[in-house]
């Protein structure tokens, strides 16, 4: 499998440390992810899946433990460097609040490129258009984001997450808010892009049928990885 693109070493996340309300949300997490993988993260509500995903995505910092991206330790990076690394290596898809309502579908997809380069240009537009075509929404590119259906919005946000051509795509319950048909379509799309581009997908989901289609399932229970245990039905 070669070198992992992403490595977690003894990651712990403790909220309100030292206070009576102290909670250890993640405990001693050790994980590795490889190029081209399609991984599902499962587990009961409140088990720490989103927290884990946010730490992987450099949105949140672990209380202790280390996170390596392409072998680079992220601990010593300041906020600006983390933001840069995040922008270039990681794409996000969230369950809710998918898109920026003031912009069209095309502009939303351009946004990560624009934030990175500073000024819009024709190449940026062409890339956004290409990505929208990939998710089957080229016809809708000039539609305001908020005027689209949930499934369409989620496909736009998938296109946006791919804009910077990241190695890692993180999705927190991307289909959790969609009807079965749309959910299946979005999932199939992600799987196809994973196979085409070799992007590593890490998806938090409660959907066992979809999880069964992944390369690997990681189960988080009570802030810890459950190894070998069968996926519990929640």
């Amino acid at each position: 499998m070669g070198e992992p693109i992403l490595q977690l070493e003894n990651i712990c996340k403790i909220y309100n440390q030292g206070e009576p309300s102290e909670v250890a949300v993640l405990r001693e997490i050790n994980l590795s992810f490889y190029k081209g993988e399609f991984v599902a993260i499962m587990g009961p509500s409140g088990s720490g899946k989103s927290t884990l995903l946010n730490i992987i995505g450099l949105l949140d910092r672990p209380t202790t433990g280390r996170l390596f991206i392409h072998g680079q330790d992220t601990q010593s990076l300041d906020d600006h460097a983390l933001t840069q690394l995040r922008g270039h290596s990681i794409g996000f898809v969230f369950q809710y609040h998918y898109l920026i309502s003031a912009f069209t579908a095309l502009e939303n997809v351009m946004m990560p490129l624009l934030a990175d380069q500073g000024f819009p240009d024709a190449a940026m537009k062409a890339r956004a258009r290409f990505l929208l075509a990939q998710v089957g929404l080229e016809k809708w590119m000039d539609q305001l984001a908020t005027k689209m259906s949930g499934g369409q919005q989620q496909r736009v946000s998938l296109a946006r997450a791919l804009a910077m051509n990241p190695d890692i795509l993180l999705a927190d319950e991307p289909t959790g808010n969609l009807d079965t048909q749309s959910a299946d379509a979005v999932f199939a799309l992600m799987r196809r892009i994973n196979q085409q581009n070799g992007t590593c997908f890490i998806i938090v989901t409660h959907n066992h049928d979809l999880a069964a289609l992944c390369d690997r399932i990681i189960t988080v229970v009570d802030g810890q990885i459950q190894t070998g245990a069968p996926v519990s039905r929640t």
Partner: protein, 408 residues
């Protein structure tokens, strides 16, 4: 999406456009505040300009006259004994001591523009049965006209003086039944007497002046008023009108004369203008503050409303600095747009008020002065106010934790 604009501008403009109702309301609020400032400042500038013009085109900036003859002991240089006490002579015209040398000295001063010697005193103008008391002023036309623009007040005849000519107020002419070219008899208490030809009728826009003014040559006035070789006043104009008082004080201390500046003689008007100005400054300050609070309030709400979008922008690689600039820009843009609206409102209000507000005689209350400078200043100031007001919300937006923003 325009290709020329940077990321921050695009997002800021879109955010403002998306919340257009909020945006319009706050711009309206700023515009009203700025409009009041523009209107007041321009009107005040107009009133002041009008006042200055009135004062300074009908008056010298400094008048140098002889010292009051206060009662003082006469000294005999040898005996040190005192003679009789001299009472201040009433109604007597007194010549300035050594006026020729003072005149030369003043003319040599670089901060002084014009010096014009005049002789003034009371006299009688008689024509047929009619006789009127007049203020007789002897002038040197070429210098005096530079100070008081006599040709501007001309209603008949020519602004010209020779030794046998007189220019009089048109109401005085009416009272005497005289026209241009007619002869009138002028005599004074000191016994001087001369027949003069009316060369011009003048209208100063002031009834008293129109009924009493009579201008003759310096020489005629000197002989009529019995002051051969003397002058009562040196009229002075200066380079910088606001330095007039200081220059006047210098003149007075360097010579045995009294020198009054226009600032001193119009002290009341002057303090009134100053008071208006400080009131105006206070109003500006408070309008500025309320504009700042308005912008800050709108942006604070906007940051809260958009916290999820900010979180998503941060997740996709937007830096804190970029987020901060997006909100700072919104503040600046609101301030700028409000000031443009305010300038328009202020200008419209000025035009209307200028057309409506008239003096009793129908002439304008204030001249319409719309200086570009005022608009540029206002726009810059409002934009800066907007930026400043946006600082707190922008910092808040930049500090938003994306995890909290996205989860919440």
């Amino acid at each position: 999406m325009k290709y020329g604009l940077p990321f921050e501008w695009i997002v800021a403009v879109r955010f403002l456009y998306e919340g257009r109702l909020q945006t319009l309301f706050i711009i309206g609020g700023i515009a009203i505040g700025v409009g009041v400032i523009v209107f007041m400042s321009a009107m005040l500038a107009g009133l002041e300009a009008n006042f200055l013009k009135r004062v300074l085109t009908t008056q010298p900036h400094i008048q140098v006259v002889a010292m009051d003859q206060v009662a003082r002991p006469l000294r005999d240089p040898r005996q040190q004994t005192e003679d009789a006490i001299i009472q201040k002579p009433t109604q007597r015209v007194v010549s300035i001591d050594q006026w020729q040398s003072i005149l030369q000295q003043l003319r040599a001063q670089p901060d002084i523009v014009t010096v014009s010697p005049t002789v003034a005193g009371s006299a009688f103008a008689i024509r047929g049965e009619a006789s009127r008391s007049v203020t007789l002023t002897g002038i040197e036309p070429q210098t005096y006209f530079q100070i008081v623009k006599i040709p501007d007040y001309l209603v008949a005849g020519e602004a010209r003086l020779a030794s046998d000519m007189v220019m009089i107020g048109f109401e005085l002419a009416n009272d005497l039944g005289a026209k241009v070219g007619d002869k009138i008899n002028v005599s004074s208490a000191s016994g001087g007497r001369q027949v003069l030809t009316v060369s011009a009728l003048l209208d100063f826009g002031n009834k008293g002046a129109n009924q009493r003014s009579a201008f003759v040559t310096l020489r005629s006035a000197q002989s009529l008023l019995g002051m051969i070789g003397g002058v009562t006043t040196l009229d002075v104009t200066v380079q910088d009108i606001y330095a007039a008082e200081i220059i006047a004080q210098h003149i007075a201390s360097a010579n045995q004369v009294v020198a009054d500046s226009w600032i001193k003689t119009n002290a009341q008007f002057f303090t009134a203008v100053q008071a208006q100005k400080s009131t105006n400054t206070l109003i500006r300050l408070f309008v500025g503050l309320s504009v700042a609070f308005g912008i800050a309030a709108v942006l604070v709400v906007s940051v809260i409303q958009r916290s999820k979008e900010v979180g998503i922008l941060r997740a996709m690689g937007t830096t804190r600095g970029q987020i901060m600039r997006v909100f700072l820009l919104q503040g600046g843009l609101l301030g700028f747009a409000g000031s443009v609206g305010g300038a328009l409102l202020g200008a419209i209000a000025l035009y209307y008020w200028h057309a409506l507000a008239r003096q009793a005689d129908g002439s304008e209350l204030f001249p319409l002065i719309l200086e570009q400078q005022l608009f540029v200043y206002t726009a810059v100031l409002a934009t800066l106010t907007g930026l400043l007001a946006a600082t707190a919300p922008a910092v808040r937006a930049a500090k938003l934790d994306p995890v909290v923003a996205i989860r919440g």
